[in-house]
């Protein structure tokens, strides 16, 4: 931007602030206008220097006013900073500014890089000449910047006086039409109305039968019944969810260099569909998406709503190699998304400097970043059944209590009963029977010596790692095996391990059965592992977790024997000729090997077989093996309850995942964990290398009725920040949220919002054509929180039902139909075209929900991103004819069919889809394999219908399905020769390409 234009912009902002402009267009006029007549020295020579050299640290625009001195307005230097006025007009030598840039005053610390002499001279001349500065901004003007339509308090407007039975929406619209002297068109015919309403609410055309029934329905409330029926259908949620997913740039992959698939993103898509179908109150929808974990902690099934936080793109590569800038931009995306989607505010314009047009400071912006400073994107686990979550919580707490011997929990009444029951059931301690070892071997050359007591002592070669394999005959039934690792004087530190410190690491235990009749051994599942002692971080559970990197250890309890019991998931029947193989992998390295071991088995009650800690078993023995409750110690309880808790946890259904953002999330990098939120500071010029003051969580100061900084207690959880923002958004005193959504709903019904910039209600956006109507609708939404109510209100108006047929005169007077004297014609969007083709061809599969359908084949790519082929697909495969909302949207590799019809690039938020026309688009609709396949399918479907055997009947049926009316004789005459010569499919293809099919009147 040239300096002159920048000056003009600043001037324009000043003016925009000082006078209320009639429209954004007018504001734009201001922006492009020539600079206001001012002293040329200042605008041409002085201001560029100030801007280049000073504003970075001394301006409102930068959000940095060091030393309290602002140089971007005259009053800034006139009042001056902490040391008083910066300029004394006419007296450069006495002016602090001049002294500072000359670096003559050591108290004025300035950057080292000095201004060139000619710039210093310019400023000196300017000050000497009286420091003429046209940048007059009355202080009050800054406050006035909140005097803007979208920020004004939302109060219920009076419905304009009209005939008593007049619909309120029409009263507002007709009042404007009357002012403009425009007459409205008549109501559209019924055929048009049902198509318009059905496509609007469902994204699908009505069936010919539905059309005929509605046309024939003479009851006075036929239309409102239709409206009710459509709103009650699950097709409604599918259509309106798509609008919301556009709005928040939701897709199924990351985008960027590593455009990886998110297999769990779809659960959020299903949440949105269900929410619209259930008419979830709008405030609850906002709250759940921002912080379901706070507002509904018990209702874990609502956690899917947090998929909202993970909707946007993710730069996996930058996350690894450039984490600071990655996180900064990732938070920026969430701020943009949240403020754009919920509040129609362009907050991110204030990332590098104060918002140029709207009253949003850098402080505000970074306060919003702070809201999201404790979360990262990835898969977040949750229990889809809240009861499971409660159970899980209970058993996890118990397991933790057992781990830490928390007596208040372990000896509590409810748990004492569990222990008593165990003791009662346990009877005698399990009898451990020796296993008859047939072979014993070391894979790495250690020498194994059988001892008289049935144990094995390891001697000789001490390899780094080893795998010990024992093959044995055993009792007919085995419920558990016990591995004793025994101290021995021959071992380092008396063992039981062979490491220098006497330790051992048992990485994995595997058990299998070999039967002569079976070629392969059968693995035996171990359900539970217990040990009398676990090294910190090296527990016995890690010996059966399938992860070769983890292991069971016994340090520092060396020099003493230990035991571990492996309880089988099911009792094992061991035939006489069958052999049990036990493999002990000790592959940690450093000779963490078992030095002496003994293997025994039991056929007793598995409950009795668990390994107790030393104290616990002693206590148990002391009580004669039949301790009653009063003798139970926390040691026994810890063992029993810990085992019970782990058993119960293992039985719970697994958690599900949703791609979201949270303090703990799983992604390609592993577990992403934010112990506490990142510190957020205002960044001068948005530059990470220039941090300024720290900012806590908050929102916009411009919404003056609400506290802009969230008063959260010290040490609060990050989730409290998201919750606070949600509450700020849905506060009845926040005018933005209600206006924003009421306008969106209008936008999707009419193709244009009352403000036609649905994501920007600021000065660069459009002011509403009918501000009072918008406020009236917003008040209704605020009061009832119901979108379905809003749809009913809008769609039942005469305004909505108007015919789009109109005179050229009407087009001349109101070309864009801003005053709504007529209905607006719209092209079906990409999703609706595909769904309409499926619906008319008779192939539409209305199965809802679940993982997305892949309209492509894929093969692995060179890195994380696969190679997709949208041409190589089977259009008849299961799921391939479901609605478009269920397709996988690959952010960086768009489907060419959808792409041609303006399915948006979801790298950014999409408030309104485009409606382009091009030759390539025409070719896609004519020749895309999907279209042709379904032209064929539709022809086959019609031909298979015996009632339509004659060609003319088939043609009529094809036209009925697509145009929802009977063909005229002239049309039939046009179509018949094509069908006769080239087949009915050629006609179906033609109909899919016809404007009557593509456009909604």
């Amino acid at each position: 931007m040239s300096v002159a234009r920048q000056a003009a912009c600043i001037a324009a902002v000043v003016m925009a602030a000082a006078v209320s402009l009639a429209s954004a267009d007018e504001a734009a006029e201001w922006l492009s206008a020539e600079p206001l007549p001012t002293e040329p020295l200042f605008t041409e020579h002085v201001e560029p220097i100030l801007r280049e050299r000073c504003y970075g640290c001394h301006s409102h625009a930068a959000g940095v006013i060091e030393g309290g001195l602002a140089l971007d307005w005259k009053s800034g230097w006139a009042e001056g900073g902490s040391r008083g006025p910066a300029i004394i007009p006419g007296d450069p030598e006495a002016s602090l500014l001049i002294r500072a840039i000359r670096h003559v005053d050591p108290d004025l610390s300035m950057p080292d890089d000095r201004l060139p002499d000619h710039e210093v001279a310019t400023l000196v001349n300017w000050v000497a000449g009286g420091a003429v500065d046209p940048r007059l901004l009355p202080a009050a003007a800054m406050e006035d910047r909140t005097d803007w339509w979208s920020l004004r308090p939302l109060t219920q407007p009076e419905v304009p006086a009209a005939a008593a039975e007049c619909h309120p929406v029409d009263a507002f619209v007709d009042a404007r039409l009357a002012e403009a002297g425009l007459a409205s068109t008549v109501e559209a015919d019924r055929r048009t109305l049902i198509r318009r309403l059905t496509i609007d609410l469902h994204g699908l055309p009505p069936t010919p039968a539905e059309v005929e029934a509605f046309v024939a329905d003479r009851s006075p409330d036929a239309y409102s019944q239709l409206l009710d029926r459509l709103l009650a259908s699950p097709r409604y949620g599918e259509q309106w969810a798509r609008h919301w997913l556009d709005t928040i740039h939701f897709a199924d992959t990351h985008g960027f260099e590593h455009d990886a698939f998110r297999p769990n993103a779809w659960r959020y898509r299903d949440y949105v569909i269900a929410s619209f179908n259930a008419d979830l109150p709008w405030d609850r929808f906002v709250k759940e998406q921002c912080a379901a974990d706070v507002f509904a902690p018990e209702a874990t099934d609502r956690r899917v709503a947090l998929g909202y936080l993970g909707a946007g793109p993710y730069d996996h590569s930058a996350a690894i190699t450039a984490p600071r800038s990655f996180e900064h931009l990732d938070r920026d995306d969430l701020v943009t998304q949240t403020m754009g989607a919920f509040a129609s505010t362009t907050a991110s314009c204030a990332r590098c400097h104060a918002h140029k047009f709207d009253p949003i400071s850098q402080d505000d912006y970074y306060a919003l970043q702070s809201v999201f400073a404790g979360i990262g994107k990835g898969d977040v686990a949750y229990d889809p059944d809240p009861q499971t979550a409660r159970d899980r919580q209970r058993w996890e707490q118990l397991a933790a209590a057992a781990q830490h011997r928390d007596e208040t929990v372990l000896l509590a009444e409810e748990h004492a009963a569990l222990v008593a029951a165990w003791e009662a059931a346990r009877g005698d301690a399990a009898a451990w029977l020796p296993l008859e070892l047939e072979t014993i071997s070391s894979a790495y050359g250690a020498t194994l010596h059988r001892q008289a007591d049935g144990s094995i002592l390891v001697e000789g070669e001490r390899p780094e790692v080893d795998v010990t394999t024992l093959v044995a005959k055993g009792p007919a039934t085995i419920t558990a095996i016990r591995l004793e690792v025994l101290a021995d004087d021959s071992l380092p530190a008396q063992g039981p391990g062979r490491a220098d410190n006497g330790n051992l690491h048992l990485n994995e235990v595997a058990v299998e059965v070999r039967r002569p009749a079976e070629p392969l051994a059968t693995p035996v599942a171990i359900g539970l592992a217990t040990a009398d002692f676990n090294q910190e971080g090296w527990t016995i559970a890690q010996a059966i977790d399938g992860d070769p990197k983890t292991a069971w250890g016994i340090h520092p309890a060396v020099g003493q024997s230990h035991q571990a019991v492996f309880t089988f998931a099911e009792p094992l029947m061991l035939e006489a000729d069958a052999r049990l193989t036990v493999v002990l992998r000790q592959i940690h390295g450093g000779s963490h090997l078992i030095g002496r071991l003994r293997l025994t088995a039991t056929d007793g009650d598995p409950q009795t077989a668990i390994a107790l800690s030393a104290g616990g078993s002693r206590r148990f023995a002391d009580s004669g093996g039949r301790a009653d409750l009063s003798h139970s110690s926390s040691l026994v309880a810890a063992a029993v309850l810990g085992q019970r808790a782990r058993q119960r946890l293992a039985e719970l259904p697994p958690k599900e995942m949703v791609y979201a953002a949270a303090a703990v999330a799983e992604n390609e990098r592993g577990t992403i964990r934010y112990e506490k939120p990142r510190e957020i500071r205002v960044l001068k010029r948005g530059d990470l290398e220039q941090p300024r003051q720290e900012v806590g969580p908050g929102a916009l100061t411009a919404v003056t009725a609400l506290e802009a900084r969230f008063p959260l207690p010290a040490g609060h959880d990050e989730s409290a920040r998201r919750a606070a923002l949600a509450l700020w958004l849905i506060d009845p005193a926040n005018p933005l949220t209600w206006r924003s959504m009421a306008n969106r709903v209008w936008h999707f019904h009419f193709g244009r919002g009352l403000s036609d910039t649905p994501n920007d209600f600021g000065r660069m956006g459009s002011e509403p054509t009918h501000p009072q109507l918008l406020d009236w609708l917003a008040c209704d939404l605020r009061e009832h929180k119901s979108l379905k109510r809003l749809h009913r209100l809008i769609c039942s108006s005469a305004t909505y039902r108007r015919s789009s047929a109109c005179s050229e005169e009407m087009v001349r007077l109101d070309p864009d139909n801003r005053l709504l004297a007529r209905g607006s014609r719209r092209r079906l969007d990409a999703d609706a075209i595909r769904d309409a083709i499926l619906s008319t061809s008779g192939r539409l599969d209305l199965t809802m929900g679940g993982p997305g359908d892949q309209h492509f084949s894929q093969k692995p790519g060179p890195q994380l991103t696969p190679v997709l082929n949208y041409d190589d697909v089977d259009w008849d495969a299961p799921g391939m004819t479901r609605r478009s909302i269920y397709r996988v949207v690959w952010r960086g590799i768009p489907d060419p069919f959808f792409d041609a019809f303006d399915f948006p690039d979801l790298g950014l938020l999409v408030a309104a889809r485009g409606e382009s026309v091009s030759p390539l688009q025409s070719l896609v609709l004519l020749n895309n394999r999907f279209v042709l396949h379904h032209a064929d399918a539709m022809a086959a479907d019609i031909a298979s219908d015996t009632a339509a055997a004659a060609l003319l009947d088939q043609l009529r049926e094809a036209v009925r399905r697509t145009w929802l009316r009977e063909p005229t004789p002239q049309e039939l005459a046009e179509l018949e020769p094509i069908a006769a010569t080239h087949g009915l499919a050629a006609v179906c293809r033609l109909l899919f390409n016809s404007n009557a099919f593509l456009y909604v009147e």
């Binding site: 960027f256 042709l932 050629a986």
Partner: protein, 478 residues
């Protein structure tokens, strides 16, 4: 609305700019829904015609995907030999480096001076060495990012984030097509795979969808997707296709007659006719058989090393010649091999890449010149960032947005000139620093567009290709 591509130049006639943001349609001419040669602006800040006479009408951009090493190609650094093996790199790993910097590593390739301009070129580019006097070098380009995704976005869209329109889309939006018979913005990716960011490098972002790059698989039997119905669909081919579309146009015309005031319906009709014309002209454009054997050989189509890139360079010339406005030719897919991202071993990984493009690029420039096309065509050789003078491992080089090389040739630029310089090691830009903003501003300038005036309002901002930056690099303009 078809314009002959050899109309007199410059200056281009001033044309009316039309609004096409959002969906205002009542007052809009049908031509506004299609892309005639015109520029568009949004929302009341309409531009009145092109801003100044254009020097360039069409552009071919050659993109070396992965980060072509400057100090092993065009940026000769004798200091690297002196400091070879010394630990002079940053102590801490800068953001975007994949590893800590190793020792300074000299180029394994011999450099020599070439041409009257005496430009240093390494031995990996023997063919381009022969045309250095026609090239205009930007020797100190910089990127905001050292990460492929954001850096590729920056070179293509001017932003480091997704969702923004690329250079080709902006040009299409600003100027429209030269010919209605070919797509106005064509992308020829490496057949081995898409670059980083996949197709998002070619996106129209928030601009109308028709401005996005048409991705063409040069090796496919039917390169333009959906130009014709597939063989399985006889009812949509040949005579059936012609009859059906004639009837379709008649029925659509009837339908439009019922709604006389809607230009979109007219536009769909016009698009249908243009589509038919494209079907006639596109196959000819993609048919390389009509080129002479000498041309095939010049572009390297007779050798496996150069065949693929040569074919796409030749195709680029044919498209440009027939009225495509902007063609982007990519060398190298994303991933660890077959591209310019030479982390492992510069000595073994760079030469095959360099060889695959060197002769085709040189042939393209000479061919364009011989045909007089260079008089209004700009060719750009570019990459997303450079590489470190420090070794990664012992033989490779890491990403470096600090300094890299771009060259331009053709209309409007000063041949044989080098602007800017990197520091002694080639690590950071030292003087004449430029960025994608400046490159884009310069390209738009040559096309007759003021980069500050080509805007589209979205989400409250009048977006530009150059964000709030960019200076036309006057030093390289002819």
């Amino acid at each position: 609305m078809t314009l002959r591509f050899r109309e007199s130049l410059p200056p281009l006639p001033r044309r009316r700019f039309l609004t096409d943001a959002g969906g205002g349609f009542g007052a809009m001419a049908a031509s506004a829904w299609l892309a005639g040669e015109r520029a568009a602006a949004s929302h009341g800040r309409g531009l009145e015609g092109l801003h100044h006479p254009a020097r360039v009408r069409r552009v071919i951009q050659l993109f070396m995907n992965g980060g072509a090493s400057p100090m092993d190609t065009f940026d000769y650094k004798p200091a690297l030999e002196r400091h070879d093996g010394q630990m002079l790199g940053p102590k801490e790993k800068p953001e975007g480096f994949t590893a800590a910097a190793g020792a300074v590593m000299k180029s394994p390739f011999a450099f020599a001076r070439h041409g009257e301009s005496g430009r240093w070129v390494s031995s990996v580019f023997p063919h381009q060495a022969g045309i250095v006097d026609r090239l205009t070098f930007l020797m100190a380009m910089t990127s905001k990012s050292n990460v492929h995704g954001p850096a590729s976005y920056m070179m293509n869209t001017g932003f480091t984030l997704p969702g923004f329109p690329c250079l080709g889309a902006w040009i299409s939006y600003g100027l429209g097509s030269i010919s209605d018979e070919l797509p106005e913005f064509v992308v020829l990716p490496d057949p081995r795979g898409l670059p980083y960011n996949q197709k998002a490098n070619f996106t129209a972002g928030f601009l109308p969808a028709r401005h996005q790059g048409t991705v063409i698989d040069a090796a496919a039997s039917e390169p333009v997707p959906d130009l014709f119905a597939g063989e399985a669909f006889g009812f949509a081919r040949g005579q059936a296709d012609r009859d059906t579309r004639d009837a379709l146009q008649r029925l659509n015309r009837q339908h439009a007659a019922e709604y006389p005031a809607d230009s979109r319906l007219e536009a769909r009709l016009a698009a249908g006719e243009l589509a038919a014309r494209m079907q006639l002209s596109a196959p000819e454009a993609f048919d390389l058989a009509s080129e002479t054997r000498g041309t095939h050989a010049a572009y390297g189509l007779d050798r496996p090393e150069t065949e693929d890139f040569g074919r796409r360079c030749l195709l680029a010339r044919r498209l440009i010649e027939r009225g495509t406005r902007f063609v982007q030719v990519w060398s190298g897919p994303q991933g660890a091999i077959n591209n310019w991202d030479n982390h492992g071993n510069i000595q073994t990984e760079l030469p095959p890449m360099a060889m695959s493009v060197d002769q085709p690029i040189t042939a393209l420039v000479k061919d364009l010149e011989a045909r007089g096309l260079l008089a209004d065509t700009l060719v750009i050789w570019s990459t997303e960032f450079g590489r470190t003078p420090f070794a990664q491992g012992s033989l490779g080089r890491d990403h470096n947005g600090g300094s890299f090389v771009t060259w331009l040739t053709g209309a409007g630029v000063k041949p044989g000139v080098a602007y800017g310089a990197s520091d002694d090691l080639g690590y950071q830009a030292a003087e004449g620093t430029t960025s994608s903003y400046d490159l884009h501003a310069t390209i738009l300038h040559l096309l007759g567009i003021d980069h500050e005036q080509l805007t589209f309002r979205t989400a409250g901002i009048d977006r530009r290709l150059t964000d709030v930056h960019g200076h036309v690099i006057g030093e390289v303009l002819a």
